[in-house]
C-alpha cells in the first residue's frame, strides 16, 4: 500500500455469523483514501458479506468498522449512506417500476429529508447532470424506459450510474462486470480508473484480467478471513492463494 494515504476505512476483527455459521471470521482490512481496492476470493469466501457489514445490511457479531475515524457499528443503513458510502449489489438492484430517469433522480440524494423533498419540483440543473450521466453509461436513449425493461448488462450500467449520481466518498462494487461483454468490461475499467483518486473504491471481482487492469492492491479472502494482500504478481505467486483456489479452476478462472 502506498503509505501516503490516510486510512479511510478500517475493519478490525469483524465476525459475522449466520445461525452459528461464521461467514466472516475475524476479518481485518484497511483501505486508504482515494484507493481502488480489489477484493477477490473463491465462491463463498465472504466477500459479499464483508460489503454487507460495511453498508449496514448485516450487523457484525463482533469487531469494529471505522469510516473516516467514526464507528459505523451502531448506524442504520441510511445513516451509513449519509456518512458517504454507496453500494452496488451483486444482483443488480434498481427500481424496476421507475424509468431510468426516475431511478437517477432518486439516486441524486443530496437532500434526504421528507420535507426538503416534498417541496422539490423543479429539476432543472439536476436534470442536466442526470442526462450526462445517462450518456456516460450509454443509457441516454432509454431515459424514459422503465428499468424493468433493461437487459442485464444495461441494468448493471444503470446501477453504476446510480452510484455516480449518489456520488459517495466510498463506493462498494459487488461484481460490477458480471454479464457484461468484453468491450463493456473494458469501458468499466476505464471508468473505474477515472474514479480512483476522487473516490475510494472497493471492487469485488472474479475476472482477473479486469482486476489487473484496475487494481493496485488486491485483497484475497478465503473462508471468511483475509488470506493475502498485495499486487497482482505477488498474489498470483502466493502459495496459500493457489491452494485456496484449488478445485475452483485456479485463480484466473475463478
Amino acid at each position: 500500500m502506498s503509505g501516503d494515504t490516510s486510512s479511510h476505512l478500517v475493519l478490525t476483527d469483524v465476525v459475522v455469523t449466520f445461525n452459528g455459521f461464521q461467514a466472516v471470521n475475524g476479518l481485518h482490512m484497511t483501505v486508504g483514501k482515494g484507493e481502488l481496492r480489489c477484493l477477490i476470493g473463491p465462491n463463498g469466501a465472504g466477500k459479499t458479506t464483508a460489503l454487507d457489514t460495511i453498508c449496514g445490511q448485516t450487523k457484525p457479531a463482533s469487531g469494529k468498522i471505522m469510516f473516516k475515524g467514526k464507528s459505523l457499528n451502531k448506524l442504520e443503513e441510511h445513516q451509513i449512506s449519509r456518512a458517504g458510502i454507496g453500494r452496488k449489489f451483486q444482483v443488480p438492484s434498481v427500481f424496476r417500476e421507475l424509468t431510468v430517469r426516475e431511478n437517477l433522480q432518486v439516486a441524486y440524494c443530496k437532500h434526504t429529508g421528507v420535507l426538503a423533498n416534498a417541496f422539490r419540483f423543479g429539476r432543472g440543473q439536476e436534470a442536466d447532470g442526470l442526462e450526462k450521466l445517462a450518456e456516460l453509461v450509454g443509457l441516454q436513449g432509454q431515459l424514459n424506459t422503465s428499468a424493468g425493461h433493461l437487459s442485464h448488462g444495461q441494468t448493471q450500467w444503470l446501477e453504476i450510474a446510480l452510484l455516480l449520481a449518489q456520488d459517495p466518498e466510498l463506493i462498494l462494487m459487488d461484481e460490477p462486470t458480471a454479464g457484461m461483454t468484453v468491450q463493456e468490461t473494458r469501458k468499466t475499467a476505464d471508468l473505474f480508473n477515472r474514479l480512483k483518486g476522487r473516490h475510494t473504491l472497493i471492487v469485488v471481482e472474479h475476472d482477473m484480467s479486469f482486476v489487473k487492469e484496475i487494481g493496485e492492491v488486491i485483497s484475497v479472502m478465503h473462508q471468511g478471513r483475509m488470506l493475502a494482500e498485495g499486487t497482482a504478481q505477488q498474489i498470483e505467486r502466493n502459495q496459500e492463494v493457489r491452494e485456496a483456489y484449488l478445485g475452483s479452476g485456479g485463480i484466473t478462472g475463478a
Binding site: E97, N103, N117, T145
Partner: protein, 376 residues
C-alpha cells in the same frame, strides 16, 4: 413541466370542473345529497391511493382516520344543538340518558367549531404518526401492515361502541346542528354542502397530486418498488412511510368530517371493517396507482351500488353483480380502469406520454420495450 404532467393536470382539472358544475343541472336535493356522499367516498379513495398505490402500504384500516374525522365533526356540531328532548343545556342528550352530568373534559374544546375542524384532521394525523412510528420503525412490511391496521380499526371501533357514555355507542352521535362557517350554513340537502365537498375534493386531489409529483413522491414510489435499495441512498424509509401514512390519514379525516355533514350523524359503521375493505376495492377497480382513477373508482362503484340496490330488477342480485365486476377487473386489469385508460391513450396518442417519460410504464411488464422516441 413535462407534457405528460400538463396533460394530467388538465384532465384532473376538467373532471373537477365537471363535478363542480353538477348542481347547475340537477337541483334535486335528494340527488345532490346522494352525489355528495359518493364524492366524499372519492376523497377517501384518494387517501388510500396515496398510501397503498404510491407507497405500497396496504392500509386496511383507512376507515379509522375517516371515523375519527367524522366523530370530531359530530362532536362539534352536537354541542351546537339545543337538545329538545332533555332540555339540559350544553349537555348532549345521550349523555343525559347515560347519567353523565358534566361534559367530559375532552368534549370541552369542541365547543369551538374551529377546534373541531382542526381536530378532524389533526387527530387522525397524530394517530397515524404514532401507529406509523411503531409499524415502520419496527420495519413491519407487507401483509403484516394490513393485519395490524385492520386490527387497530377493530379495536378503535369496539372502543367507541363500548364507551357509550361519551360516544353514543352503537347509535353514534345523532341529531346534529348544521355547520355554519363564515356566515354560510351547510345544509346536508342543499347545494352549499355539495359545493363544499366538491371544493374539498378538488383541493385533496391536487394536494395529493402535488405530493406525488414532488421528489418526495418519487421516493415514495421507489420505496414501493424496493424499499431496501432506497435506504442505501440515505433516505430514512420509515420517515417517508410515516409521512405518506399521515398525509393519507389527514385526507381521510377531512373526508370523515364531510361525511358527517352530508349524513347528519356519526356512527361506528363509519369505522367499520366493511367500509374499510370497500375502499380497497374502489382503489383496485379504479386503479390504485392513479389518484384520479381511485377517486372515480369509488364514485362509480358506490354509484352503481346505489343504483343497482335501488332498482327492482337487481334487488336480490346486485351484490353478486358487483362481486363479479370486481373479480373481472382485478383479473384482467391489474392497474384498474385508470391503467387501461392510460394504455389506450398511449396507443392512440403516444406523444402525450413522451414528456417526462412514463411512456412505457403503463404497458404491462411482460411486453417488449418499445422503441423510445428521441428525447425532446
Amino acid at each position: 413541466m413535462s407534457r405528460r404532467t400538463a396533460v394530467q393536470i388538465a384532465v384532473y382539472g376538467i373532471v373537477c370542473l365537471a363535478i363542480l358544475l353538477v348542481p347547475t343541472f340537477y337541483d334535486d336535493a335528494f340527488v345532490l345529497n346522494k352525489y355528495s356522499r359518493y364524492l366524499v367516498l372519492g376523497i377517501l379513495a384518494i387517501a388510500l391511493s396515496l398510501s397503498w398505490g404510491y407507497t405500497g402500504i396496504l392500509n386496511l384500516g383507512q376507515a379509522t382516520s375517516f371515523g375519527l374525522g367524522s366523530y370530531c365533526m359530530a362532536m362539534g356540531l352536537k354541542l351546537r344543538t339545543v337538545p329538545v328532548h332533555t332540555g339540559s343545556a350544553g349537555l348532549p342528550d345521550f349523555m343525559v340518558w347515560n347519567n353523565v352530568d358534566k361534559l367530559p373534559w375532552f368534549w370541552e374544546p369542541f365547543n369551538s367549531m374551529t377546534f373541531a375542524i382542526f381536530a378532524g384532521i389533526a387527530v387522525p394525523v397524530i394517530f397515524a404518526v404514532l401507529l406509523g412510528w411503531f409499524i415502520f420503525r419496527g420495519r413491519v412490511t407487507g401483509v403484516y401492515v394490513a393485519i395490524i391496521t385492520l386490527a387497530v380499526l377493530v379495536v378503535v371501533n369496539l372502543l367507541i361502541i363500548d364507551q357509550q357514555r361519551f360516544t353514543g355507542g352503537f347509535n353514534g352521535i345523532t341529531d346534529l346542528a348544521q355547520l355554519e362557517i363564515f356566515g354560510l350554513t351547510f345544509d346536508a340537502y342543499g347545494s352549499s354542502s355539495y359545493y363544499l365537498i366538491a371544493v374539498s375534493l378538488t383541493f385533496s386531489l391536487f394536494f395529493a397530486l402535488a405530493i406525488t409529483k414532488s421528489k418526495a413522491g418519487l421516493i415514495l414510489q421507489a420505496i414501493r418498488d424496493q424499499e431496501n435499495r432506497v435506504r442505501y441512498f440515505g433516505y430514512d424509509v420509515a420517515t417517508f412511510k410515516m409521512f405518506s401514512f399521515a398525509v393519507s390519514a389527514g385526507i381521510a379525516g377531512l373526508a370523515g368530517m364531510l361525511y358527517t355533514i352530508v349524513m347528519e350523524f356519526a356512527s361506528p359503521t363509519f369505522l367499520g371493517v366493511p367500509l374499510s375493505l370497500a375502499i380497497v376495492i374502489w382503489c383496485a377497480v379504479g386503479g390504485r396507482q392513479s389518484l384520479l382513477g381511485a377517486m372515480l373508482g369509488a364514485i362509480v362503484v358506490t354509484g352503481m351500488q346505489g343504483a343497482l340496490s335501488e332498482s327492482e330488477t337487481f334487488l336480490d342480485t346486485w351484490t353478486l353483480i358487483m362481486g363479479f365486476l370486481f373479480v373481472v377487473v382485478v383479473l384482467f386489469l391489474p392497474k384498474g380502469l385508470a391503467g387501461a385508460a392510460e394504455m389506450l391513450l398511449d396507443r392512440i396518442w403516444p406523444s402525450a406520454g413522451n414528456g417526462n417519460g412514463r411512456a412505457n410504464k403503463s404497458t404491462s411488464r411482460n411486453t417488449l420495450p418499445r422503441k423510445t422516441e428521441p428525447a425532446e
